[in-house]
C-alpha cells in the first residue's frame, strides 16, 4: 500500500472523467473510498475495467493494483471483459421467475443466439442472467445497459431488441 504522490500527467480516461476522478479522491476521509465509483465510471466509459484502468486507478488512489483487483473481483456488476454495445440483463429472481422470467431468458438466448455472459458475433448484444434488479412490481423485467424494460412478454422483448438493433445500425 503505497503513499506516493498519486497523480500522473497522462491518463487513459477522457479529460472530463480524469477531472472527475481528481475531485472524487478528495471527497472522502480516505482516498480508497473512491475506488468503487471510480471503477464503475471507468467501466461506463470504456465498456469494461481494463488492465490499464486498474493501473491508473491504483496509482490515483495510492494502492496496489492487487488491492483494486481484490475489490473489483468481489462485485458481479464490475467486469474485466468487454460486453456488447447493448448488454441485456434478464432477471430470473423470484418475482420475475413466477411471471415467466426464465422463459424470457430462454427466449433471449434463442433470439440472440448466445448464452449467459456471451456476446453476439457482431458485438451488438450480450446476454446475462442477473439477480434481482429491483423491478419486482413490474416483473418480468430486463435491464439493457442502464434502461429498464418491464412487464415483458416474448413479443415485447423482440420489439425491444429490434429497437436497439435499429439504433445500432443508425
Amino acid at each position: 500500500m503505497t503513499t506516493e504522490a498519486p497523480m500522473e500527467a497522462q491518463t487513459i480516461f477522457s479529460p472530463e472523467l480524469a477531472a472527475r476522478f481528481d475531485k472524487l479522491v478528495t471527497l472522502y476521509p480516505v482516498r480508497r473510498s473512491a475506488l468503487i465509483p471510480m471503477l464503475l465510471y471507468a467501466q461506463d466509459e470504456q465498456g469494461y475495467v481494463t488492465d490499464a484502468a486498474i493501473r491508473e486507478i491504483a496509482q490515483r488512489i495510492g494502492i496496489t493494483p492487487l488491492d483494486v483487483r481484490n475489490v473489483l473481483s468481489y462485485y458481479s456488476l464490475l467486469r474485466t471483459k468487454p460486453v456488447g454495445k447493448y448488454h441485456v440483463q434478464v432477471c430470473t429472481n423470484i418475482s420475475c421467475m413466477l411471471r415467466g422470467g426464465q422463459k424470457l431468458f430462454e427466449h433471449c438466448k434463442q433470439r440472440l443466439g448466445v448464452g449467459h455472459k456471451e456476446t453476439t458475433p457482431d458485438g451488438i448484444f450480450s446476454l446475462e442472467e442477473v439477480e434481482c434488479i429491483g423491478a419486482c412490481s413490474w416483473a418480468p423485467a430486463v435491464q439493457v445497459n442502464y434502461d429498464f424494460h418491464d412487464n415483458l412478454t416474448a413479443d415485447a422483448m423482440d420489439a425491444v431488441l429490434d429497437q436497439y438493433r435499429k439504433q445500432a445500425e443508425k
Binding site: M1, T3, T64, P65, L66, D67, R69, N70, S73, Y74
Partner: protein
C-alpha cells in the same frame, strides 16, 4: 490500563481492560481455538472457531473480537460451543482435500488438530470436491488452492507485517481465493512468512515440499548464520549418508529474539551445507603445485611445522591472521588468543563491517546505553541514520513496522536512498551519500552551516523526544559516531544501536579480532590482565590491520597468513601473485578465491554444525546449538586447538578445560535432547568428551566471562536459549588516548548484501542464487 475481572468456565480471571477475550483466556491457560486470529495482526473474525457463550448476549460471540468487560461471565467449552465448532469444521472440510497423507502440513496442521479435537470426521456434504492444480508462485512459494481455508493470515502478515502487500483475496463467497500480486506469480521479498503462518498446507515451501514428514525430522532451534540480527531459526534435520542433513528451516520455535519473524535467508539459505563443492577432506599443495587431498594428521602437522618455523626464525610479526564474521565467540576469542599467545603476533583482523571500536569508545563508561534488538519493537521514538534495514536487517525492519503499527512509534529516517521503511516514517530526510557525518554534526549542533529547513525541523522534533533510540548504519564511522553519541547523550535516556553485517560481526569485534584491540576493546598498549594471561609471547605493539597485512604480503614481508572462514582475496580484490611468497593456510567450507591460493586447506563445519555463542549487532548474546552434522569436517575451534597442539603449545593454558563442572554437560545437545542415557555417545559425537575436552566451547566461555569486560550473563538463561544483552565496553574511562582517533584507520567495508545475497556464503546457497537470478530475469524482461 485498569484491570477487569471476569469469569471464564467458572474460573475468575483478571486482565487489563481492552484485552481481547481470546488473549485473556489463553493467558489464563484456557484454550480457545482459532484459525484466523493471529496475535499482532488485524482482526478478521472469519473462521468462527473461537466462538464462546457470553451471559446475557443472545448469540455465540467471537472471542477474538470481544474485549473483556467487568463481570463478564463466559463459557468456552459447552456442548453448544463444541457443536458449533464442529459445524464450522464441517464447512471448512466441505471442499478441503483429504490428502493429509501427502500434505506437507500433515502432522503439524491446525485443521487436523481441530478435526481430531472436535471430531468433525463425518460430513453432511455429498458434493464433489472442486479440485485445482497446485501453482508455483515463486522459487519458494507454492499454492495448493483447495487446501486453503481462507483464514487470511497470509494476506495480513504479508501486508501489515511485511509491508509487501503481495497477497490479496479475490472473488467472494465460496469462490474466494488467495491471489498473488503478479497475476500468476509473486513479486515480493520471498520471506516465506505466508508459509509459516498458514495453518494448513495451502502455502508450501519450495525447499521442503514433499521431501519428508515433520515427525521424521529432529528439530533444533539455533541462530541463523546470515545477517547481524541473529534470529533464531528452527532447523529440521534428517539422517543422511554422511551425517545429519538440514531439510527445512522455519520458525516453528517462536521463543527467539525474532518472535514470529524469519526472512528468506534464515528460512531457505541453509543449503550451502549440502552444496556439491563442499570440502570434506584437507588439501595440501603438492610438489606440482596442485591441491591434493591428504589426511588431517599430515595437513595439521605440516601447517603447524611451517608456522612454528616461521615464528621461531622470522618472528611472530611475519605471521598474519584473518578471522571470520561467522565463527562463534569462543572461536573468535580462541583465534586471537592463539595469535597473541602462541604465534606471538598482533597481526589479526577480520572483514570489518561496522565501526564497533569507535562505538565502544564513544560509549566508554556509559551503562545501559546500547539497545537490544528487542527494544526496537518498543521504543517510542527511533532515529534511523543510514542503512536499509528492509534489505540488510530484515528483523529490525519487521520490529520497526510492528512498533509503528502497535505503539504508534515515531520513526525518523535520515538516508541517501529512498528506503522502503520511509513509508512507516514520521519524517524522512534525504541527504546525499557523502554528507552523513556533516548531517550528524548538524543534528548534534556541532555544525553551524545551514543544512536545510527539513534538517532543522528534524533537529527540533528530536529535541522533544524523551526516549530516543538511535540506530545507525556503517555510513557512520570514526568521529561521526563519536559526535552522534555525544549528541544522543545530551538528550534524556537515549539508547544506541550500531548496525554491522553478519551474524557474529559484533562478536568478532567484542572478542578482540583487531590488531590494536584486545577482547572487550581493551587497547593492546594497556593490556591489563591480558598481558599475564597471554604469556610471554604476547607482543606489546599493535599489529597490522587487514589491508596492511595484504600489502606486506605483496611486498614479501609476510611469511605466513592464516585465514579462518574469510575470503579476503575476493572481498579486497587481491591479486593472486601478491600472496605467492606467503605460506597460506585457509579454513573454509569451499574452495573460495582465497582457498584456491592456499598451501593448506582445512574443511570446516559451519555455524549450524557446532555449538557456542554469538553476539548480534545490538549486543544480544545467544546460544548456538549444534543442529546438522557432516562427516569429514571439523569445527574451527578444534582446528585451532589442534594446530596449537602440533606447534608444541600448552593446550591447557590455551583452553582452560577440565576445570570444574561448568563445561557443556549436554546443554547444547540440541537434536538429541532429553535422552540422558545417550549422553556419552552424544558428547563424543560433538567432540565433547565426558572428561571435558579441549574442544569444549564452554571452557572458553568461562574465560570470556572472566576476562571480557561487559560479558556478564547467566548461563542458565543462555542454555535455556534466551538472549541476553551484553555490552563489551571498557568501563574504565581513565584510559589514556594512545592513538589519535583521527589517525586510526577504521577500515570499515560494508558488505552491502541485499535480502538475496550473503557474502561468499550466499554464492553457495542454491536457493538464494535461484531467487536472486529469477528476480534479475524479471527485471530484464521488464526493461525490454
Amino acid at each position: 490500563m485498569a484491570d477487569v475481572t471476569l469469569t471464564v468456565d467458572g474460573k475468575k480471571i483478571t486482565a487489563p481492560a481492552g484485552t481481547l477475550l481470546i488473549d485473556a483466556c489463553r493467558k489464563a491457560g484456557i484454550e480457545i481455538p482459532a484459525f484466523c486470529y493471529y496475535p499482532g495482526l488485524s482482526l478478521q473474525a472469519a473462521c468462527r472457531m473461537c466462538v464462546v457463550r457470553i451471559e446475557k448476549i443472545p448469540k455465540l460471540q467471537t472471542a477474538c473480537t470481544t474485549p473483556v468487560a467487568e463481570g463478564m461471565i463466559v463459557a468456552t467449552d459447552t456442548d453448544e460451543i463444541k457443536q458449533s465448532r464442529k459445524a464450522m469444521l464441517q464447512l471448512v472440510l466441505a471442499n478441503h482435500p483429504l490428502d493429509c497423507p501427502v500434505c506437507d502440513a500433515g502432522g503439524e496442521c491446525e485443521l487436523q488438530d481441530m478435526t481430531f479435537k472436535y471430531g468433525a470426521a463425518d460430513s453432511n456434504f455429498v458434493d464433489v470436491k472442486n479440485h485445482r492444480e497446485e501453482q508455483q508462485w515463486s522459487p519458494v512459494v507454492y499454492f495448493d488452492r483447495p487446501r486453503c481455508i481462507l483464514c487470511y493470515r497470509c494476506v495480513r502478515v504479508c501486508g501489515e507485517g511485511m509491508d509487501v502487500w503481495a497477497l490479496g483475496v479475490q472473488n467472494r463467497g465460496v469462490s474466494s481465493v488467495i491471489a498473488p500480486n503478479g497475476g500468476d506469480h509473486l513479486d515480493c521479498e520471498e520471506c516465506g512468512m505466508c508459509i509459516d503462518i498458514c495453518p494448513v498446507g495451502a502455502l508450501t515451501s519450495g525447499t521442503y515440499r514433499y521431501k519428508t514428514r515433520p515427525w521424521e525430522m529432529t528439530h533444533v532451534g539455533t541462530i541463523c548464520t546470515h545477517c547481524g540480527d541473529g534470529c533464531k531459526t528452527t532447523l529440521g534435520m534428517r539422517s543422511s549418508g554422511d551425517g545429519m542433513e538440514i531439510i527445512r528451516g522455519d520458525n516453528r520455535d517462536k521463543s527467539g529474539i525474532n518472535g514470529d519473524f524469519l526472512c528468506v535467508k534464515g528460512r531457505y539459505a541453509f543449503d550451502f551445507a549440502n552444496h556439491k563443492d563442499r570440502l570434506t577432506q584437507p588439501l595440501l599443495r603438492n610438489a606440482e603445485g596442485k591441491l591434493t587431498p591428504t589426511s588431517w594428521e599430515d595437513a595439521l602437522a605440516f601447517a603447524a611445522q611451517r608456522l612454528r618455523k616461521i615464528r621461531d626464525t622470522r618472528g611472530g610479526e611475519q605471521i598474519g591472521i584473518i578471522g571470520s564474521n561467522r565463527t562463534t565467540n569462543e572461536e573468535s576469542y580462541l583465534l586471537q588468543k592463539f595469535a597473541r599467545s602462541v604465534l606471538g603476533t598482533n597481526n589479526i583482523d577480520h572483514h570489518r563491517t561496522a565501526d564497533y571500536v569507535s562505538f565502544a569508545k564513544a560509549l566508554a563508561g556509559q551503562e545501559q546505553r546500547a539497545a537490544s534488538l528487542r527494544e526496537t519493537e518498543t521504543a517510542p521514538a527511533i532515529l534511523l541514520i543510514g542503512n536499509d534495514p528492509t534489505e540488510q536487517h530484515p528483523m529490525l525492519a519487521w520490529n520497526l513496522r510492528a512498533n509503528v503499527r502497535h505503539n504508534r512509534a515515531r520513526i525518523y529516517i535520515v538516508n541517501h536512498q529512498e528506503i522502503k521503511l520511509r513509508r512507516q516514517a514520521t519524517s524522512f530526510l534525504k541527504i546525499s551519500a557523502d554528507t552523513y557525518s556533516t548531517c550528524t554534526r548538524f543534528l548534534a549542533g556541532e555544525e553551524n552551516s545551514a543544512f536545510g529547513a527539513e534538517a532543522t525541523a528534524l533537529r527540533e522534533a528530536l529535541s522533544k523526544e524523551p526516549n530516543l533510540l538511535i540506530v545507525f548504519g556503517a555510513e557512520l564511522h570514526g568521529s561521526a559516531i563519536e559526535s552522534l553519541v555525544r549528541y544522543g547523550l545530551s538528550l534524556p535516556d537515549t539508547k544506541f544501536a550500531c548496525l554491522g553485517d553478519y551474524v557474529n560481526s559484533r562478536g568478532a569485534a567484542d572478542m578482540g579480532m583487531y590488531p590494536d584491540m584486545l577482547p572487550g576493546y581493551v587497547p593492546v598498549q594497556q593490556p591489563g590482565a591480558f598481558a599475564t594471561e597471554y604469556g610471554e609471547r604476547f607482543p606489546a605493539a599493535p599489529g597490522l590491520d587487514l589491508p596492511s597485512m595484504l600489502d606486506a604480503a605483496a611486498r614479501g614481508n609476510l611469511a605466513a597468513l592464516y585465514v579462518v572462514g574469510s575470503n579476503p582475496v575476493h572481498r579486497y580484490g587481491v591479486a593472486a601473485a601478491s600472496l605467492k611468497n606467503t605460506f597460506l593456510i585457509v579454513q573454509d567450507m569451499f574452495l573460495t578465491e582465497t582457498a584456491l591460493l592456499a598451501d593448506v586447506v582445512l574443511p570446516i563445519a559451519n555455524l549450524y554444525e557446532k555449538a557456542g555463542t554469538v553476539t548480534n549487532t545490538y549486543g544480544d548474546l545467544q546460544f548456538v546449538k549444534k543442529a546438522a552434522d557432516r562427516s569429514g569436517v571439523r569445527t574451527d575451534l578444534e582446528l585451532i586447538v589442534r594446530l596449537a597442539d602440533k606447534m608444541g603449545a600448552d593446550v591447557h593454558s590455551l583452553v582452560p578445560f577440565g576445570q570444574g563442572t561448568r563445561a557443556d554437560m549436554g546443554q547444547s545437545r540440541g537434536a538429541q535432547s532429553g535422552e540422558a542415557d545417550r549422553h556419552a555417545v552424544w558428547l563424543a559425537a560433538q567432540n565433547l568428551e565426558p572428561k571435558l575436552s579441549p574442544f569444549d566451547p564452554s571452557a572458553l566461555l568461562d574465560e570470556i566471562q572472566r576476562l571480557v569486560p561487559g560479558y556478564h550473563f547467566s548461563r542458565l538463561e543462555l542454555f535455556s536459549g534466551n538472549d541476553q544483552h551484553v555490552q563489551a565496553t571498557a568501563h574504565n574511562t581513565g584510559l589514556v588516548q594512545i592513538v589519535n582517533p583521527a589517525e586510526r584507520r577504521d577500515g570499515v567495508l560494508p558488505s552491502e548484501d541485499t535480502l538475496f545475497t550473503s557474502g561468499t556464503l550466499g554464492h553457495y546457497s542454491g536457493k538464494l542464487t535461484e531467487i536472486h537470478d529469477s528476480r534479475n530475469k524479471e527485471i530484464l524482461v521488464a526493461a525490454d
